[in-house]
Amino acid sequence: MNDVEIMNIIIKAIKLEASLKPNEKIYIGQKSYTYAEFANMLNNHRKLSKDSKQTVKSFLESCIKLFRENQDFREKIFSLAGEG
């Protein structure tokens, strides 16, 4: 499975998690986002500022690392995304 395929599955799962938690927020640096706002940023790269692009890039790199290294995370993300 390549990085793009992994990212697509993770984004699908994260969007679902975000929809289940409308009141939760993420703070990154001086910015804050609802889970839904953040999830929408993940596949809307072109509309983002340079800083937000970097935030998303770092987040997705950590996603992929966790997906490759942690079997529980991988299985639960697959399950949440309705894959496998």
Partner: protein, 226 residues
Amino acid sequence: MVECVVIRPCFDEASSISFEWCSEVIGWLREKNISLIDLAKDDAVRSKVEEAIQRENPQLIVFYNHGDTQGLLEQDGENYVIDKKNDYMLSGKELYTLACLYGADAGIDAWKKGAIAVWCYTKEFGFTTEALTEFKNFANSGIKFKLEGKTWEESLQQAKNLAKQLCQKLINEGKYISAIILQQDADALRCYTQNNPPETSTCIFRKLLIKILGPQKAWKIAGRND
């Protein structure tokens, strides 16, 4: 003379949370009878920080708030309490900071100018509202381990181990976004010391040496100053 200067601005939602996290650290310092000055909110400004460091010559400086590659931000976020112009004041001292991105550039500069330890993050520090306790535990863990008597290098390793455990806990609880953010924080965490030098440099020659020889040997050649 005090042993520690704590700096904790508070001017937005994120800094109001980290301000509270820092209260726990202050409690631990007091339990260990470490004398301290708490430069909070309107006292967390450059002039007062410089004055406190010059007058008290503390061994440890704790900073909880925002930062960037150029420095640590003061109350209201307009200017820096510590940046490359005054970080010579950290020579011979230990700095523990939660600030975003400081470790990517200015933290390296502080280390090059003689700071004994620089606890810092090379990327943005993030946290979520659904896992505030876990993020606080991680953010405060380094100073906790240090106060328990571990070296900075051991504290760094223990903090990274703790992050793995917390990450697993969050995964088990179905908090995947939080787990990813915590993983990102752990990956960005550094502690620059004599034995644990930065893995990068603004100097092209040094960068090349690090690539060829590794950070330990590369920083020994011609010292830290370039």
